[in-house]
Symmetry: C3
């Protein structure tokens, strides 16, 4: 693995190997040291949680980390991102964790730059967020290793969600039994990589083993004439009431940050079914597995 | 000690133990390594000096440090601070150095969150700044160990000063002989934890062993109809002339950053009585003692 | 060497020693550890590349690094920079890498502060950028060690370029054979430290061994009534066509970040004559040599 760009590009065996290694890291007290391999976090979009998760993963592996505040970067002087990456690579940094609002930017960089540069996609627009898919699946498999027997439901703004996209890909690769994507019509995507789409929350939640609730961005609601917060809450919010349709053992997940009282109620987010903080914990191990796989490639 | 929130909450013995340990660290060449214990600096208010002091303290103890630029945090996406703390804790960070303009915020978090999370109050509004009190008292005791025989004067905007509040508490706990708080009437607090208040600078400074001069925020002066810079200077500034009322061995202290020529003159700030840079040096050792006490609790 | 402020202040032997040590570092796999010596990057002007280069240099030497976002610094509260430096020094940080728009600021600090504080000038206004001169000359000498036989041309806004200033000084100190500075009349300096100035690009490029192309700041072009982008391109841009006047072995250099299609064409910047990324790589070693020289002084 030279880059980590999108789940759909990886062979099933590679994905399984990442999941296996992440679970292994979780059991360990001490980790290998890759102190010769510096990482830069190039975040062109804000993100506390993802940036810190990658930083903690790098810390555990003794990798030096450079954080760049892109407000202050030479980008602002007109230098193109490719030159930024090449410049940092010339300084001896070969691992680039990049988040950017432009879809496919990381792919484009990977196509242009040489093999010595390793790019990790930490989110590109509404396209992909592959490390999130690894940590989500890791969290599910810890509880339910038999993926072909599961019904998993993803709930929210499917159309604009890179989390939903990467998750579809990993379900496809690993053969999840049933994947249901629940969204209001205006937020349903035109095509799917895997699963089926519905606007019927009861259909989606009934007998679900796992529910992944996506963040509803208030800005998106404001863009939309046909949807307001109240009607979204009524038809799509994850509440104790709606969750009752799912299996008694249902896992509740959310990529965070949550809008409590919007897409999810606090008693669900903090309730006994919630694996939301477990996802966060697993994210560090998942990203350690990604880094190590790039280093040992 | 599970949190470090406010001096008034700590038993006298705990405070003495922190002071003792800080002075010990100051004598040492090498420090213990707590590399398994990551710290996050969550600064919702700007502060170079306090943030860097905690960062240096953590560095000396080999604790990994994550700095969060809260302008870019998920706070901005509506996630509440409690979720931010829980999320970071789930990533394996258990020491939270928090500065926030809201009084009692750190206390409120400590009440809600579990024992695995350790909160250090690095300043909450006008309420408390307990690590400043430790470093202030450490600096005083290095020169004057007999606290019950001292006259200490704090000078400035007592009403809005978290530094003055925490300092009153530590004087109370440790039994300082005499504490005088000098402020113009509009900046006098309604109640005191310890000491007496006056608007007479000569009264405050006469035979003082220690003078702590507080920063005068120009914004506060502008808010006030009854006080201008010139009259503040005339009645309350620490100058060579006003300092002459104090003992010949008087210590001059200031929490920084100073407004030279406002609350303190440069020849006093840089003069032979000044322990202002000694306070800064001691701050690192004081914060090391705080971290260690939380780790070994 | 107690500070690293300006090439013209250093004896020739010191400069040669820095170049020699930088080239030695480049050959090494492991570096000495100076983990007791903390560095702070005080950047009052934005710069990704220079800041990260100093950070990587410090990392290689195991020096702890504190990065300060000066937007959030106590500067904003009126504290003068000298107090900031003294405060950080009191915390145990003795190496200050400072970039500031005010010319001579670093010199002024060095004059005031004691010997325990070591200041590295990372660029002061249009005045000096001495570490850039070391890395530039290091890159040239790797290819052409006989400096007295070289024709080197610097091209661009000579008048406002700290890179050009420091480069003149190093050429002067080391006795470069011929230095030609090419600029439109309005961007020619009133006096030179070394070399000759012309507005004739052909004169400058003919038989040149090295061409250093400076960044053209669009803002500077907009300030000027007598120069527009098109006429600058026609008379001064480094293109395949203009480069043909130089020697077949010509080295193309640029301090970065580049404005591709403005002062330099992409086929030149990325072509076989380009040593632009080599400059970036060498910058880390040059800065390691600077740090070590200050530590061992």
């Amino acid at each position: 693995m030279n880059h980590f760009l999108e789940i759909s590009q990886l062979p099933r065996q590679q994905i399984e190997s990442l999941l296996h290694r992440a679970l292994e890291f979780k059991q360990q007290e001490r980790y290998p040291s890759y102190s010769q391999h510096a990482v830069v976090n190039l975040f062109y979009e804000d993100s506390t949680r993802t940036r810190v998760s990658f930083e903690m993963a790098a810390n555990h592996l003794s990798m030096p980390v450079i954080n760049l505040d892109l407000q202050n970067s030479s980008e602002n002087k007109g230098e193109i991102i490719e030159d930024t990456v090449k410049t940092l690579a010339a300084m001896g940094i070969h691992y680039f964790v990049i988040r950017h609002k432009q879809e496919g930017l990381q792919q484009q960089l990977a196509n242009t730059l040489g093999n010595a540069i390793h790019i990790v996609n930490a989110g590109d627009g509404t396209h992909a967020h592959p490390s999130q898919a690894i940590l989500d699946m890791m969290t599910i498999m810890e509880q339910n290793p038999q993926l072909d027997q599961l019904k998993i439901t993803v709930l929210g703004n499917i159309k604009h969600s890179r989390v939903a996209n990467s998750f579809q890909s990993i379900c496809n690769k690993l053969g999840v039994g049933e994947l249901v994507l629940v969204a209001p019509p205006i937020w349903q995507p035109q095509s799917l990589d895997y699963g089926r789409v519905t606007d019927d929350l009861v259909d989606g939640l009934t007998d679900a083993d796992v529910v992944i609730c996506l963040r509803v961005q208030r800005e998106r609601l404001l863009e939309t004439e046909h949807l307001d917060l109240e009607s979204y809450r009524r038809d799509f919010a994850l509440t104790q009431k709606s969750l009752a349709y799912a299996k008694p053992s249902v896992m509740v997940m959310h990529p965070g940050p949550m809008n409590r009282g919007v897409e999810i109620d606090s008693d669900v987010a903090d309730g006994k079914h919630s694996f939301i903080l477990e996802q966060v914990s697993n994210g560090v191990y998942a990203r350690m597995a990604v880094f190590e796989s790039l280093i040992l490639n």
